[in-house]
Symmetry: C2
Subunit: 218 residues, 2 copies
């Protein structure tokens, strides 16, 4: 055909991302996807083999879309200070997993995969989550001062990433308890600020208390 990947294949991929994100793997039917993509029912099995393989390709496709738009260094200058690097990490994470249509529901797809793991979760962990968390750990380490145990760095990194995940997982609740929250770019800036505010106070406090322990009554 015209392209190496046919147009039909692309339409299925985009439609499937939206439908899988909205309903989850089990509740999504191939008929929903084909209806939205306006292609024949058999097209999914022709182009992707079966539903599960389509789902795996959707995960990879949505992830590459979201990461292309919002890489972990989004809006960050070279040689920035650790605090700025943390700010950029949190902000790009929130943007990448936000409901922005052009992310193709990446955040929601991963969220669902975490809650109801399929065989695709290992793929996501090995090729994405592990790297992402490692980057955060490298940002947090210098913020905790010198000679800090790695276990403490990991615990702090978990505390920080958990605050980012909160606004991913609790979106349905927040939407009902605080409908004014819209999760647009403006809200992301504010949420980034709140997470930074809380976390930097924690990191600075931990760092200081450890200095005092090293050199008491100084």
């Amino acid at each position: 055909m015209e392209n190496e990947t046919t147009e039909t294949r692309g339409r299925i991929l985009e439609a499937a991302a939206v439908v899988f994100a909205e309903h989850g793997y089990a509740a999504t039917t191939i008929r929903m996807i084909c209806g939205r993509a306006q292609v024949n029912l058999a097209a999914v099995n022709y182009h992707f083999g079966n539903k599960e393989r389509l789902y795996r390709e959707v995960l990879l496709y949505a992830r590459s879309c979201a990461y292309d738009r919002y890489p972990p260094t989004y809006g960050l200058a070279d040689g920035a200070a650790p605090e700025q690097r943390l700010h950029a990490f949190i902000r790009s994470f929130l943007l990448r997993t936000s409901c922005d249509e052009r992310n193709l529901g990446f955040g929601t797809l991963v969220m669902r995969e975490l809650v109801e793991p399929t065989t695709a979760l290992d793929m996501l962990i090995d090729e994405g989550i592990r790297i992402m968390f490692g980057q955060l750990v490298d940002i947090v380490r210098p913020l905790l001062g010198e000679q800090v145990e790695e276990e403490l760095v990991l615990a702090c990194a978990r505390s920080i990433i958990s605050q980012c995940l909160f606004y991913l997982f609790s979106r349905p609740v927040i939407r009902r308890m605080a409908p004014e929250q819209k999760f647009n770019h403006e809200d992301v800036e504010m949420i980034t600020g709140q997470i930074m505010f809380f976390s930097m106070h924690a990191l600075n406090g931990i760092s200081e208390s450890r200095c005092r322990r090293e050199r008491p009554h100084a």
Copy 2:
């Protein structure tokens, strides 16, 4: 029959909680539940009407079991200090949502409901989540010092509850990245300690920085 609620009904309720927690609403079949409960296929529709009404009753049943075992004041003496109250809140939250079989998968059920809301989510929010969060806010407020804006209290409460939710949502990932973590009672104590460590440093830092702003150069 012998009891006001028949034995069959109870068996279905317990079996359904486990199966719904394990597979989610859509992927759970009535045949799975009845097979596990060793009752006839028609028993679900006889005792509960249909699958959705059974699911709602399961949510309420699992919640009451989990809250009976681990109330928000679990292990807390009267008149305890705010910091101890926060410790008890975090610990009971983690225990209540842990994988302990006698919680009937309450944590997992709520987690799934958050990710894929049904009409039952409103019920959970109005009768549970809102109250739980309000209790946390009341614990956090005195820890931030006097005359602090309510919006800041809410943001800090969100930062704290998000760390607790992390160990609920990310369990599948943690299980694969750090298999030594078992989420038993011992691990809960350790995780509680880590969340307290990070959060108290944050709260103290925020509280102090605001005092300094009130009385500069004091």
